[in-house]
């Protein structure tokens, strides 16, 4: 028990700070790497401004166009379900809100635990489905790299350890909670150096896309 408690205190203390520091420095480095590259000046007469269409695409790409939905329904539906499930569990589980309150000073209302519990179970199942799809679909199998499987594993571990800790399925509890926190910290550490950066950069990418098309008079 004391070993488990020591582990929990370590992940909540020094390790948490290390993870946050690597995450912050790594993310800033990645954003600087992107923005310092800049864009060449564009001398072609624009049809429209870049900001409006860019901002619209930042949001609109969240929804697939009808044709893509028809051709890749699994990608769209399962992708949506697990992303939303993950966000609900991350942002609306009351103990998580307490953590945000402690670190950021910001807080908001949460959802009742049984609701978050159900959402977490659905998230786990859909995450498993994405793995099966990645291994089975010829395109996904062909383009997948070690990083894809590594990132899948860490995301799955974060949700799974949270689920196990909540249901007291691993004893002692401090060990279960410690593993959950450690998984989340590993995810934070990996975030700036893997495709997990899309959490931030996808919005930059969408802006550039929307701006480039919008300039030419097309809402992308």
């Amino acid at each position: 028990m004391s070993g488990a408690m020591g582990f929990l205190l370590w992940v909540k203390g020094p390790m948490f700070n290390i993870a946050l520091a690597i995450f912050a420095i790594g993310l800033i480095a990645r954003l600087v790497e992107i923005f310092l590259l800049g864009r060449a000046p564009n001398y072609a007469e624009p049809r429209a401004g870049e900001w409006g269409p860019g901002l619209r695409t930042m949001l609109s790409r969240t929804i697939a166009d009808p044709g893509t939905f028809k051709r890749a329904p699994f990608n769209v539906v399962v992708g949506w379900v697990w992303h939303i499930g993950f966000l609900i569990a991350l942002l609306l589980f009351i103990p998580h809100i307490e953590l945000f309150k402690g670190v950021l000073g910001l807080y908001w209302p949460g959802l009742p635990n049984p609701v978050v519990d159900l959402v977490t179970a659905v998230t786990l199942i859909t995450l498993l489905a994405t793995l099966v799809h990645r291994l089975w679909h010829p395109v996904k199998r062909r383009i997948s790299t070690t990083e894809d499987y590594l990132v899948w594993t860490i995301v799955f571990m974060v949700v799974l350890t949270g689920y196990l800790a909540y249901h007291r399925l691993v004893e002692p509890y401090p060990l279960a909670l410690g593993m959950h926190i450690l998984s989340a910290e590993l995810m934070l550490i990996m975030l700036p150096f893997t495709k997990l950066t899309h959490i931030f950069t996808a919005f930059i990418a969408r802006w550039y896309n929307g701006a480039a098309f919008g300039r030419k008079g097309v809402q992308s």
């Binding site: 564009n42 697939a64 051709r71 890749a72 996808a202 896309n209």
Partner: protein, 431 residues
């Protein structure tokens, strides 16, 4: 030309990496949705044609040289390198199986503009000596003769004579101070001479002053298709010089998709300065003439028509409504395809694929997507406004024994002009 090497290729790839490229590669989650938007993947079922995979050389260079983690991996000897053998393998992926139609750029959930990066990758491929023979030859002909097909002014001069004889109108050549400089594509001059006749009639009817230039008549840009900025800039400079010599205020790009994006969007950036004139696609000009009541038509086509939007014109340039306004003017029974405008499907021949002879089989495979779209709405004829698309549609429909003629929109408009134009004011512009 000095020797093309892997080193030069890598340097060219490196020079292409900018903030959007870095944001795009940072964001890819390998979801594979881009494949579902690519006619080359969908119609062959081969996952190697997944758009994001085509960008692997550029991505590797970005990762190795433009990211912290890639540099660390490099120091540890873990970073995969771009090799000559890799580029040789990727030549087919970056040229033969990509028409740069930009559909993947419209559907990528994280917003990656993949076509933008394909265009960039080709710059590296050329410098590394891995561009297709067909495109190399087209580029050499474009530089040396002024036309990617080796067409010379004297051939066009013969055609001008024919047009003048059949219409009784003058085809203006080298007229200083005309409003419009009309550019052509060699493909059009050779395959669709009716286009020149059509604009001669329409501009006479609408009272538009225009001219051709003996200095430069070719609007297409083989340099952009192959991916060589120097050649591309040289070809754009010729158009600019011709327009400046004749002091025109507007330049018209012909019924050709890539010529339009080349001169309209890439051109000023290739030469590093804005133009002293404006650029329009012929369809934009015709729609403007329609809207201001300067085109008066009579009679309508009564068979069932559908339309193919050239990727370069619609998705990549925002010309979508204009062709529909025009067809409404002259067609009674027009039906749009289910996915049209910015979500239309490529004919399979753009982006240099049609100049790359060895890509013929892939080009015809990609056409099957268009064919399926055509079958869905079952038109009696197809209308389009790009000579490359039109040739591909004709060849494809022929290959599949589908008896559906293809017609250019400009000639269809010309066929319906009223003989003696009444006063523009009498006409309702929106009729």
């Amino acid at each position: 030309m000095s020797e093309l090497t892997l080193e030069r290729g890598l340097a060219a790839f490196r020079a292409e990496i900018d903030a959007p490229t870095a944001a795009f590669f940072s964001s890819c989650v390998h979801c594979g949705v881009c494949a579902q938007s690519c006619p080359f993947y969908l119609e062959t079922g081969d996952p190697k044609y997944t758009p994001i995979l085509k960008l692997e050389p550029l991505r590797l260079i970005w990762e190795a040289e433009f990211t912290l983690w890639g540099r660390i991996k490099g120091l540890l000897g873990l970073q995969e390198k771009v090799t000559d053998a890799m580029l040789a393998e990727w030549e087919e992926l970056l040229y033969d199986s990509c028409s740069m139609c930009g559909r993947c750029s419209m559907v990528c959930p994280v917003g990656n503009d993949l076509a933008y990066m394909i265009r960039k990758s080709r710059e590296g491929m050329v410098q590394a000596g891995h561009a297709p023979e067909g495109l190399i030859n087209a580029s050499i002909r474009a530089v040396t003769t002024g036309s990617p097909m080796g067409l010379q002014w004297k051939t066009l001069a013969v055609q001008i004579k024919h047009v003048e004889a059949s219409t009784g109108l003058e085809v203006p050549v080298d007229k200083t101070g005309a409003e419009y400089l009309v550019m052509l594509s060699s493909m059009e001059v050779i395959n669709f001479p009716e286009y020149l006749e059509a604009i001669t009639k329409i501009f006479d009817h609408a009272g538009v002053t225009w001219t051709l230039s003996t200095q430069c008549f070719e609007a297409t840009n083989a340099g952009i298709q192959i991916g060589n900025k120097d050649i591309a800039a040289q070809l754009v400079e010729r158009v600019v010089a011709a327009a400046e010599t004749l002091k025109v205020s507007k330049v018209i790009s012909p019924e050709c998709g890539h010529a339009f994006t080349a001169i309209r969007w890439e051109g000023p950036n290739l030469i590093g300065r804005p133009y002293p004139f404006r650029v329009f696609h012929i369809v934009e000009v015709l729609d403007e003439l329609r809207a201001t009541g300067r085109i008066q038509t009579e009679g309508k086509e009564d068979d069932r028509l559908s339309m193919h939007d050239p990727c370069n014109l619609a998705r990549k340039s925002g010309v979508i409504q204009q062709q529909r306004n025009l067809i409404d003017l002259v067609a009674e029974d027009f039906v749009d395809m289910n996915e049209h405008g910015r979500f239309q499907w490529c004919c399979g021949a753009g982006g240099g694929v049609s100049s790359n002879e060895r890509a013929e089989e892939l080009k015809m495979a990609a056409f099957k997507r268009k064919k399926a779209q055509i079958e869905e709405v079952a038109p009696e004829r197809m209308v389009t406004m790009c000579a490359t698309c039109r040739t591909q549609l004709e060849e494809g429909l022929e290959e599949y024994n589908m008896d559906i003629p293809v017609i250019g929109l400009t000639e269809m408009i010309a066929d319906h002009l009223v003989e003696k134009p009444r006063a523009a004011a009498e006409h309702d512009a929106e009729a």
